[in-house]
């Protein structure tokens, strides 16, 4: 049941991305191009998602467990640090270069030709680089001295 609900959530998420226009990089770049002919549509995607999200997270705050069992796991409160800002800036540059962010790229893979595939493979490589670096940093921290 938990696997089915996760699958269904992924499916609804992806259909939302397709319907909203997020899977069209040209539309995303049209939103990011403030100085050109600006297409404000994607602000409505964010608005619609946050509208439902506000309610969902408010409901979640009053509960200790998920409906299908297990705890509700949210990231703990960490401060605003260099990694957060520099990482997000880096992501934003990549987003602006091609018009793909992770969700829409994945929802474009099947039937989308080789371009989203090329982007996703590079994105996975980038994530892999991060994981390797994180492991090395953890080892360095463990070493005495």
């Amino acid at each position: 049941m938990r696997m089915f609900s996760a699958l269904l959530a992924g499916l609804v998420f992806g259909i939302g991305l397709i319907l909203s226009g997020m899977t069209d990089p040209a539309k995303v770049l049209g939103f990011l191009d403030l100085a050109g002919r600006w297409d404000p549509s994607l602000a409505f995607v964010m608005g619609g998602a946050v509208l439902v999200g506000l309610v969902a997270f408010r409901v979640a705050r009053g509960r200790s467990a998920a409906l299908l069992g297990g705890p509700i796991q949210l990231p703990g409160a960490r401060g605003i640090d260099r990694r957060l800002v520099l990482g997000s800036l880096t992501f934003g540059v990549g987003w602006g270069l091609a018009g793909y962010c992770p969700g829409p790229a994945l929802a474009s893979l099947l039937g989308g030709g080789y371009k989203p595939l090329l982007f996703v493979l590079a994105m996975l490589a980038g994530m892999g680089v991060y994981e390797v670096q994180a492991i090395l940093a953890a080892r360095r921290a463990q070493r005495p001295g």
Binding site: M3, L7, A9, G10, L11, F13, G14, I15, L17, I18, L19, G21, T23, D24, P25, D33, A35, W38, S41, L42, F44, G47, G48, V50, V52, G53, V59, A60, R63, A66, L68, G70, I72, P75, R78, R83, L84, G87, S88, L89, T90, F91, G92, V93, G94, W95, G96, A98, G99, P102, G103, A105, A107, L110, G111, F119, A122, M127, G128, Y130
Partner: protein, 142 residues
């Protein structure tokens, strides 16, 4: 600034956004998990085992979305302007950046703002700013 009224699609954008919010609510309330795509995908690259199944199930649904949507409506036409080298560079930056910054448009932009998290608001401001600046640079300066 001029508004591209001919491209403006507020209703489908809003409807899609509501579905994204619904999916986020489902994963949160049913499974107790945050629908941040870069986090869900990146977590699969970790050596730790134990919480892979739900990630795979969610991603399978996400991957299957165009097939499912295509059964009912013709899929909207998309246009990828970026060349191959640009796509690779963009992918690398998005991969490293989202993991280093602990989230992307969904994790920080939708979930984080819905949680009223100051961290996510800063992150969203940062990636939007960088996105605006990058497109400005490419389309209007270079």
């Amino acid at each position: 600034m001029t508004i591209a009224w001919d491209q403006f699609t507020p209703w489908s954008a809003l409807a899609g956004g509501l579905l994204i919010g619904l999916a986020t609510a489902m994963l949160l309330l049913l499974n107790g998990r945050l629908a941040g795509i870069s986090g869900i995908l990146g977590g699969l690259l970790r050596p730790e085992r134990g919480d892979r199944a739900w990630r795979l199930a969610f991603l399978l649904g996400l991957l299957g979305a165009p097939l499912a949507a295509g059964l009912f409506v013709p899929l909207p036409a998309v246009q990828v302007e970026a060349g191959d080298a640009m796509l690779v560079a963009a992918g690398l930056l998005v991969g490293v950046g989202t993991r280093y910054g602990s989230g992307c448009t969904s994790g920080h932009g939708v979930c984080g703002i819905s949680r009223l998290s100051p961290r996510s608001m800063v992150a969203t401001g940062a990636f939007m700013l960088a996105g605006f600046a990058t497109v400005f640079l490419i389309r209007h300066l270079l």
